[in-house]
């Protein structure tokens, strides 16, 4: 296999990249100065060497524990449970949450063969079992599989944590009620809060 085909094959394994895009990226790299390709190769090589899972929350990190778990200013008694490490970035960008996280590493999906044993739930139970956590916020995606995962996690934690909450669902900020679908409006109404 030629070097061009080899790189295109590897790139086309990435999500959202088909054969044509992989070839386009390959030819783009060939048009660049060789140093740029080397920098990319070094960055890719260093990724698996330097990045690993935090031993506390399973976030992706270069240190252990991760910056969030190691931050003394964060409230360790409030744990936000997310499906993937990338979800942490989304919540951190909002700047509202000052607790810590726990990454499940996916969501329950019988159709894809993903069961409880594939998720990082046992570690979460170990983490909250000593009784130092006062609230767990379950922030799995608001999809049917995300809801089932939230229900499963809630059941596992129920005897260990005084308060288990679920992130709210409803009309997005900046959205228009007129254009919201019926399911979203129904969710927003059922999760309404007193003013």
């Amino acid at each position: 296999m030629s070097a061009i085909d080899e790189l295109a094959t590897e790139l086309s394994r990435l999500p959202g990249i088909g054969r044509k895009t992989a070839l386009r990226l390959t030819y783009h790299l060939l048009r660049q100065p060789p140093e740029q390709s080397r920098r990319l190769a070094d960055a890719l090589g260093g990724l698996s060497d330097r990045v690993h899972r935090c031993s506390v929350c399973a976030n992706l990190t270069e240190g252990d524990p991760c910056d969030i778990c190691g931050d003394a200013r964060r409230d360790k008694a409030v744990v936000c449970v997310v499906e993937e490490a990338s979800d942490i970035g989304a919540i951190e960008r909002a700047g509202e949450f000052r607790g810590v996280y726990h990454v499940l590493g996916g969501r329950l999906s019988p159709l894809d063969g993903v069961g409880p044993e594939d998720l990082n739930v046992d570690r979460l139970v170990e983490r909250v079992a000593p009784g130092t956590v006062r609230e767990v916020i379950i922030a799995t995606n608001p999809s049917l599989e995300g809801e089932a995962t939230a229900l499963y996690v809630q059941r596992q934690l129920a005897t260990h944590v005084p308060m288990i909450s679920r992130i709210a669902r409803g009309i997005p900020v900046g959205g228009d009620l007129e254009y919201a679908d019926g399911v979203t409006i129904a969710q927003a109404l059922s999760a309404r809060r007193e003013m």
Binding site: P15, G16, G115, L151, V183
Partner: protein
């Protein structure tokens, strides 16, 4: 590129690229379809928030011959079936039903009757209390098997077709495809014996009727029987992952 409007049920969902999803749909008029829903993961998606697993709605598909992946132009949800995610028994049961259709109905073999059987099965399961979720799944599964043309013979011998009217246990052979008269049973060694109420249950379920009473032990026995039947008549050697999760019951128990 022809635009086809049809009712559809979402059987499987995959995230694709940054904002899109690939859906596997059972449709009333266009068989099984894999479609790309561009932008479906955005919070202000034109598909709305309810385009999710097991949802049913009016779909507009842009179909092009020779393509494996078609384009979803719109999907107006009529039933979101979010209740299926609110109970583990319902969730794993619905996944097993979806897997049956995905794996064992051919791309062009989703008849109107099979589509309606699937819609009924999902509705029944969505409305089922936790205690009867397994019975609702069994009922839906046997009806789907029947609509696919594999209903077991219950009232007549699967081998010689003689009518059987027996109150006691009868031999049941997966290979033969149903119950056997005592004479033919000698030709099919190694089957099970099914009591009358188990035979009645399968007959009722295959016709879309529900049982008023089915205890856990009987339901477990029916799960095993259904698995053996599927392995004999439909299985292609690949594991049935959702069916396994449903049969093992680990999600429901914990």
């Amino acid at each position: 590129m022809p635009l086809v409007e049809t009712d559809a049920i979402v059987l499987h969902v995959f995230d694709y690229s940054e904002t899109s999803r690939i859906l596997r749909l059972a449709t009333r008029d266009a068989g099984l379809q894999s479609v790309l829903a561009r932008g479906a993961r955005r919070s202000k998606s034109r598909f709305g928030s309810a385009l999710d697993l097991f949802a049913e709605g009016a779909a507009q598909l842009q179909l092009k011959d020779g393509r494996d992946l078609q384009t979803l132009a719109s999907f107006d949800v009529t039933r979101s079936r979010s209740e299926l995610g609110e109970d583990m028994g319902r969730f794993v049961g619905a996944s097993a039903l979806a897997e049956l259709v995905l794996r064992f109905s051919g791309a062009d073999d989703v008849s109107v009757a099979l589509f309606e059987a699937l819609a009924d099965a999902m509705d029944n399961l969505a409305a089922a209390q936790h205690a009867v979720a397994m019975e609702a799944t069994l009922s839906g599964a046997w009806r789907l098997v029947a609509e696919m043309g594999f209903a077991p013979s219950i009232d007549s011998c699967a081998s010689c077709h003689a009518l059987i009217d027996a109150a006691g246990d009868l031999p049941f052979s997966h290979t033969a495809g149903g119950v056997l008269c005592e004479r033919c049973a000698r030709l099919y060694p190694g089957g099970r014996r099914l009591p009358l109420d188990a035979r009645r249950a399968i007959a009722d379920w295959s016709q879309g009727r529900r049982l008023a009473d089915c205890d856990e032990r009987a339901a477990k026995a029916h799960q095993r029987l259904l698995r053996e039947f599927l392995q004999e008549h439909l299985a292609d050697g690949r594991p049935l992952r959702a069916f396994d999760a449903w049969e093992q019951g680990a999600l429901v128990a914990r």
